[in-house]
Amino acid sequence: MIADLTRAERLWAMLILGALGLIGLAMAIGGRNDLLGIHGWIVLAAGLAGFIAVMRGRDAPEPSAERLNEYYDAPTRVGLILTLLWAVVGMGVGFWVAALLAWPDMTFDVPWLSFGRLRPVHTSGVIFGFGGNALIATSFHVLQRTTRARLPDQISPWFVLLGYNLFCVIAASGYLMGLTQSKEYAEPEWYADIWLVVVWVVYFAIYMRTLARRKEPHIYVANWYYMAFILVVAILHIVNNLAVPISLDSAKSYSLFSGVQDAMTQWWYGHNAVAFFLTAGFLGMMYYYLPKRAGRPIFSYRMSIISFWGITFMYMWAGSHHLHYTALPHWVQTLGMAFSVVLLVPSWASAGNALLTLNGAWHKVRDDAVLRFMALAAIFYGITTFEGSFMAIRAVNSLSHYTDWTIGHVHAGALGWVAMITFGSLYSIVPSMFKRERIYSQKLVEVHFWLALSGTVIYVFAMWNSGVTQGLMWRTYTESGGLTYSFIDSLVAMHPYYIARAFGGLLFLLGALTALYNVVMTIRMPAPASDDPALDIPAKPALQAGE
């Protein structure tokens, strides 16, 4: 890792890590009477550990110029492992909080074991930890292959990957200590948010710099989506997290927005986080790994264009459907609903484009669990986007809002779409990334597939049932005009579904553990006698002439 860096880059790395350590020290000293101080120590430890590691390797010989003839995949390799580790953490905590809902006494009166603190560890762990690392790792891989250009340098990809994971650690540890902005999916406090902006700008710069050096005349669709993901997430993150810290030595801040404006900003953010983090980014992943694995051309370039612009344009308006029947003015709700309905068309066009790409390769879907993961992801993407547009209709929302139906919907997307496309993509590149002939056990991939599918189906059906039951119980009136059920009656009715949901989640978690084991064993397999990298290299400088 450090031997890959040029001597100049090693110096830069030490400078950056040293500065990071100093910032950590300042936070630790300034915030010594505040929880900020604990985060200061974590930042200091991260900076110091990195600094020492680079310093110890600084005298290694300059990397050979040959490296420029290869893609730079080391960050992707580390990113793939981090993806799996976060999957286990995020899904493990998810299983735990699911069990907490069924058996609420399991907090044992320990503050950090309470639902309110653990739940964001689950959501951030899977969305940012698992999803984010998967996006960063695969985007570096896809970006290089589809531009036939190597990443611009060897330090910024590490800065993005490791800096991003530092953000994830700060976020998760903060939740356990009780630090939160109380904005769903944007819980981390101001200093973590600022750090993420820095990381994200560098991420976008890597993308632009590599694209600018591309050896292909056209920019592939996958890159449109990855860029939309990076650019829009930056905008969302900055705007929704605008806040004033109560002082520089305190973790606490106050949002710039209040009241219904705050709610609208939050759900403009929240819905577009789903759109651009959990949809656009993973569509980028799908657009590369699915046709690659299937060995089929994309069904329709024209449909890709309609889908991309439809998705990027429509999603931006849809956030207000999270606030139907609230203090948000009626006209904003109408617009949110109207755009959400049309949004179904480009969403289904994307899912359809993926599935139609498989025409001529369905026998592979039958035989290859890796491709089946991706095919199923496309199907779940179609199901979830239909459900989403349906739930955005105001009258439907009056039943579904505040119920477990929403949770079921999110998990149909998160488990069925996001996680399945990730696992499919991950399995398809792990062997080549680690220079192994094949995955350690195809059988375990098959086991994982069925664990993931059955877990998702159990989870989603449990939540559909419980959500609709809840919604109906809350709106059932007696003949005399009073409510038939109290809220606690509906909770009692939920109990069996909550147990089923925890079980479904457990199956999904077991699948993730299977994946981790399979990947670790793949890495531990002996390398093949001679690898033939000739097929997987960037365009040679010699090829540039005449382009």
Binding site: R302, H330, F339, I488
Partner: protein, 294 residues
């Protein structure tokens, strides 16, 4: 690199000629079905925005042709529901408790409506079956501490116990041990004595002198609130100690805890949170549960 435009054997379509690391794209026209779908969805959505309040302007927004407004709609439906319920709520408001309790039809409504009302407001402490949870009394079977005539129960709900209302009922069991009002030996004796009040059979296993002393301590320190016969007093809200119902537990350790550290349970003052109709309804509901128990 601009590659060759090829014809795909499976679909019969040509490729675009672009290729990225082996990935090609077909130039398949957008299916008609998709256009139809897009146009239908767009027509629906545009129509919807014409009918409903939608597009913003500088000074306000387009109200929509149907003139729908969620504020008006919700106010209207709340009013309509109130009018619908008035046939019986007006009787709850105007008639006295005895008259309502004598009317089976009205009491059927009280039971039905009261169950949800109790579940949403009272069950968190008193339990879904109203039989109490540790720290909160059984409302169905145990004697009431402040009196069980309807007016008194309604008043207890209205003002609460140790609540925020200025008229709240006030009751506190003193911390006889922690505040050094009784010696350890006094406490042990009085705890033994109190134990025998509800379980006389325990007396056989206890020292008679201790019990006699315990009775003295009780008379001097406890009888003021709990009564000389220890059967509780509704004036003070102190519970009956001779029955089988215990708010904080009737085992020796719990009784000792109560005597040593004292108790000051809270019931919220429900006035302002619940309407007078609801308070009356809950009173009737709880008394009805009690009546059925006996």
């Amino acid at each position: 690199m601009a590659g060759l435009i090829e014809r795909d054997k499976v679909s019969g379509q040509t490729t675009t000629g672009h290729e990225w690391n082996g990935i090609k794209e077909l130039n398949t026209p957008v299916p008609r079905l998709l256009w139809a779908f897009l146009i239908t969805a767009t027509i629906f959505s545009v129509t919807w925005t014409v009918l409903m309040p939608s597009w913003p302007g500088i000074n306000g927004y387009f109200r929509g042709l149907l003139g729908v407004d969620q504020r008006v709609a919700v106010t209207q439906s709340v009013e309509e529901a109130a009018v619908e319920r008035e046939s019986w709520t007006s009787r709850i408001d105007s008639e006295d408790f005895a008259a309502i309790q004598a009317d089976d039809a009205l009491m059927a409504i009280v039971r039905e409506t009261g169950a949800a009302l109790f579940g949403d407001n009272c069950a968190a402490c008193h339990g879904t079956n109203a039989r109490g949870t540790p720290g909160f009394p059984n409302l169905v079977a145990a004697p009431t501490m402040w009196g069980d005539d309807p007016e008194t129960v309604a008043e207890t709900i209205r003002v609460g116990i140790n609540g925020t209302s200025p008229e709240t009922r006030y009751a506190q069991m003193l911390a006889f041990g922690r505040d050094h009002m009784l010696e350890r030996a006094d406490i042990d004796a009085v705890v033994s004595y109190v134990e025998t009040l509800s379980r006389p059979e325990l007396a056989a296993g206890m020292d008679a002198d201790t019990l006699a002393y315990g009775a003295e301590v009780f008379a001097a320190n406890c009888a003021g609130c709990h009564g000389e016969d220890a059967r509780g007093m509704t004036d003070t809200g102190a519970p009956n100690l001779t029955d089988q119902y215990w708010t904080y537990g009737g085992d020796r350790a719990s009784i000792r805890q109560s005597v040593y550290h004292g108790r000051a349970g809270t019931m919220p003052s429900w006035e302002g949170r619940l309407s007078p109709t609801h308070i009356k309804l809950l009173t009737l509901y709880v008394l009805d549960l009690r009546a059925h128990e006996q």
